[in-house]
Symmetry: C2
Subunit: 142 residues, 2 copies
DNA sequence: TTGACGTCGTTGCATCTGCAACGATATGCT
DNA sequence: AGCATATCGTTGCAGATGCAACGACGTCAA
């Protein structure tokens, strides 16, 4: 009995994730030419206020190098400010600039509308989906 | 009210997909050093018998170039045979070699056990998750 | 038949990713 | 204090990815 790829959860997850990210990226592409890592860094800074590269690396599931390069691009674009931590001079504190804050104000509106649309498409399955995904994607594991 | 990334479905999907794929890849890494595209090509050939690059591209959500290169590597590894279609000489028919069939026999066992473990972890949410993912990942759209 | 157009698989190229260094700094042990 | 060890952010590098060509082949209409 051969194996069926189209009921295999890792495959379904991968395809659904890719497609959903692409749909969302198309929405904010008009607003700002951000990559997904850049968007995640901005979003995290928006709700945490300030964070180091390490914090984002740990909490947002991006490699250190990806965060570092995304932060550099965002700084060059004037959306983020880097600032050496005075207590621990290895750390670099990232904060949204006023322009970054303004951009996130618009982007978070787009994101919330997209989330609402997804929830509408999923109907009553939406909360279960979110719960199941959170179980598959633990917050702290490597 | 700032935006919360950790309830955002595209983000949850991405992290869950990455982590689940990594768990699965670790399982078959010992059995065969396959990349994910290679695994998908093998799995699709296992249950379709024969398929062209185009077929796999359309059904398995991989770029043409990715399928082409994966097929070349698999052929060089002796797991897949390429064969020109006699009717339409643009097409290249891919089939599992005996070695490829034997490998898939072992890999599909690993895959089914992993799927069973995931289902066990998810409990009653598993069928709902699968249904929701299928709705987010339509079979034919570009 | 001829020629325009579409499709197939491959390849080149720019970019992104993940991993392993590396220098700078901090921490802990003696 | 002094030195080994660990952590932080950056960078180099090999490999993978997505996209746009490209040549080869097929299809359709005139």
């Amino acid at each position: 009995m051969p194996f069926h790829l189209d009921t295999f959860l890792p495959y379904l997850l991968s395809v659904a994730a890719h497609r959903t990210s692409a749909r969302f990226a198309a929405l904010y592409a008009a607003e700002a030419g951000l990559t997904i890592p850049e968007w995640r860094v901005l979003a995290h800074l928006d709700h945490s206020g300030a964070a180091s590269v390490r914090d984002i690396h740990a909490l947002v599931h991006l490699d250190k190098s990806v965060v570092s390069r995304a932060a550099s691009r965002l700084e060059q674009a004037g959306l983020v400010k880097k600032q050496g931590d005075t207590a621990d001079r290895r750390l670099i504190v990232l904060r949204l600039s006023p322009e970054g804050t303004a951009l996130m104000l618009r982007l978070s509106g787009i994101a919330e509308r997209f989330q609402a649309q997804l929830v509408a498409e999923l109907g009553t399955d939406a909360p279960t989906l979110a719960r199941a995904l959170q179980r598959l994607a633990p917050g702290s594991e490597p």
